[in-house]
């Protein structure tokens, strides 16, 4: 369903993931995501959304198949090569994953770490430009006044926005968001989703979000991918997706949500 003049940025080819001996995580996934897309992946808890997302930046190793990031295989990448690919993929987590004892600024700066040699980053020798970049990012998520606060002094919604500022500072082409709103209240969730939309529209980043809230998915998603039992059972434009499809995606699981 590629629009004209867009290049695929993520390609999954016959991807399989098996946990342990026989627990299927992903089953024969073929998926192409183009540059600049805003994709929501919906499905029940345990359907494989998280596995799918985490296999893209190889936080999870897949069992078979290949994943290409801008034409380069991340499955086969090693060491520095892998780190360079990851540098170009930002990630937002359900539990924010900030270093709670560090300052907001330092947390945001960690987005730049992979641009530095080890010794320089270890000694905290971030350039002025990067510190400014981090501060600008915080301004964009309206947290400029918290720059020197400790991360654990912030509310959940604010912490997630710090994580978004971290991704903004990292300046990747791709953003993976794994249930970014699951631990937030509805209002804060909307704010976080708007920030992610901003990353997509203003900065042209390709955004892929796991959601189990159908409402948020409908409100923000442009392309929907439905996952059930490790398989993609639906892939289409949000505007053309009928209600029955969601029922289908969310049915058949014993674990309800």
């Amino acid at each position: 369903m590629a629009d004209s003049a867009v290049k695929p940025i993520i390609e999954l080819k016959n991807v399989n993931k098996i946990y342990g001996k026989d627990i299927v995580g992903l089953k024969d996934i073929n998926l192409t995501i183009n540059k600049g897309e805003f994709v929501v992946i919906v499905g029940l808890s345990g359907a494989g959304k998280s596995t799918l997302l985490r296999s893209i930046n190889r936080l999870i190793d897949i069992s078979a198949g290949d994943i290409l990031i801008a034409g380069e295989s991340i499955t086969k990448a090693k060491g520095k090569e892998l780190r360079m690919l990851r540098r170009n993929i930002g990630m937002i987590f359900q539990s924010f994953n900030l270093v709670k004892r560090s300052s907001v600024l330092r947390n945001v700066l960690t987005g730049r770490v992979a641009y530095y040699p080890t010794w320089k980053s270890t000694l905290n020798l971030f350039t002025k430009e990067d510190k400014q970049r981090a501060y600008d990012a915080l301004q964009q998520v309206d947290l400029a006044d918290k720059v020197y606060s400790r991360a654990d002094e912030l509310s959940g919604g604010q912490q997630q926005r710090v994580a978004i500022a971290r991704v903004l500072t990292q300046n990747p082409d791709i953003i993976l968001a794994d249930e970014p709103t699951a631990s937030l209240d509805p209002q804060t969730s909307r704010r976080v989703m708007q920030d992610l939309k901003m990353l997509n529209e203003k900065h042209g980043m390709t955004v892929i979000i796991n959601l189990h809230s159908v409402q948020l998915a409908k409100e923000f998603g442009k392309r929907v991918i439905g996952v059930r039992a490790g398989e993609i059972i639906y892939d289409g434009k949000m505007s053309e997706t009928p209600e029955s499809t969601f029922n289908q995606i969310y049915s058949g699981g014993e674990k309800d949500e």
Partner: protein, 267 residues
């Protein structure tokens, strides 16, 4: 323990449990008697010689303050030994703990082997270490420092790697996703979460070292223990008393400062 009449299903397993408790108590008490027999422990000897103890104690209560001039330099040496031993041991423990924490080094063979080595080192008592180092580097504070360093290592490494293993894995994941390398992950995701624990453990080890270093001199490993031994040998209890009082003062003071700083660190 049970209420009087309702002999319900719940009481049945409890009864068996109690029965075994009784057996263990009997074994324990029996063991106690057997071991007093084997080791020829005699409480009577303690009480019949109590007068002697009182005599020594009285002499110690009249300390020889003129001796203080001789004691102070050695006391300072003792503290210096403790400081150096703590620093050296902690630095080694810091690096080693990172290598045996399973959330950092994923290879179980590596961590397993390194842990066995750690456990062997931890079993050696400080006085034995002191004696070994006296044999290796000769009499003097260097032997004491090395012994204390290894003791510190044993204490800090275990506490610290356990602290590392209990950290929130989220930041590690985040840093991995950002493309950071192992060292960067340690510096940005791990250390901020554990560094206060590490400092606290070092202070704790220091408290122990101050106490341990006072006796190390006994075996020639430097410090105030040397005078302790000399004065005891010639029954000069007034001098021994001086040393003991000074040691108690210093240990209490250092313990107090150290535990206060640890409290401050932890919040």
């Amino acid at each position: 323990m049970n209420s009087t009449d309702p002999e319900k299903l719940m009481t049945l397993p409890k009864k068996k449990f109690k029965f075994w408790n009784l057996i263990w108590v009997i074994i324990f008490i029996g063991g106690l008697f057997i071991s007093t027999g084997v080791t020829k422990t005699s409480l009577g000897a303690f009480f019949s010689n109590f007068g002697q103890f009182a005599d020594i104690f009285l002499q110690m209560l009249h300390p020889n303050w003129a001796y203080l001039g001789a004691v102070i330099p050695l006391l300072l040496e003792t503290i210096k030994m403790a400081v150096l031993g703590t620093v050296i041991g902690s630095v080694l423990a810091f690096i080693y703990a990172l290598l045996i924490a399973r959330n950092i080094v994923k290879n179980k063979t590596v961590t397993g082997i390194l842990r066995v080595i750690m456990n062997i080192i931890r079993t050696i008592p400080d006085l034995l270490l002191g004696a070994i180092f006296v044999a290796i580097v000769g009499i003097g504070p260097v032997a004491g420092i090395l012994a204390l360093a290894i003791c510190t290592f044993g204490i800090v490494v275990k506490l610290f790697y356990e602290a590392i293993e209990t950290i929130d894995p989220g930041p590690i994941e985040a840093l991995t996703a950002v493309g950071a390398n192992k060292l960067q992950i340690i510096v940005f995701a791990v250390l901020p979460q554990v560094i206060t624990y590490f400092i606290s453990y070092c202070l704790y080890a220091f408290e122990i070292n101050v106490r341990a270093s006072t006796v190390l001199g006994y075996i020639g490993a430097g410090g105030i223990g040397l005078y302790l031994q000399q004065t005891l040998q010639v029954f000069d209890y007034a001098k021994t008393g001086t040393i003991i009082i000074v040691i108690i003062l210093v240990v209490v003071l250092i313990d107090y400062i150290s535990s206060k700083s640890r409290e401050a660190l932890m919040n």
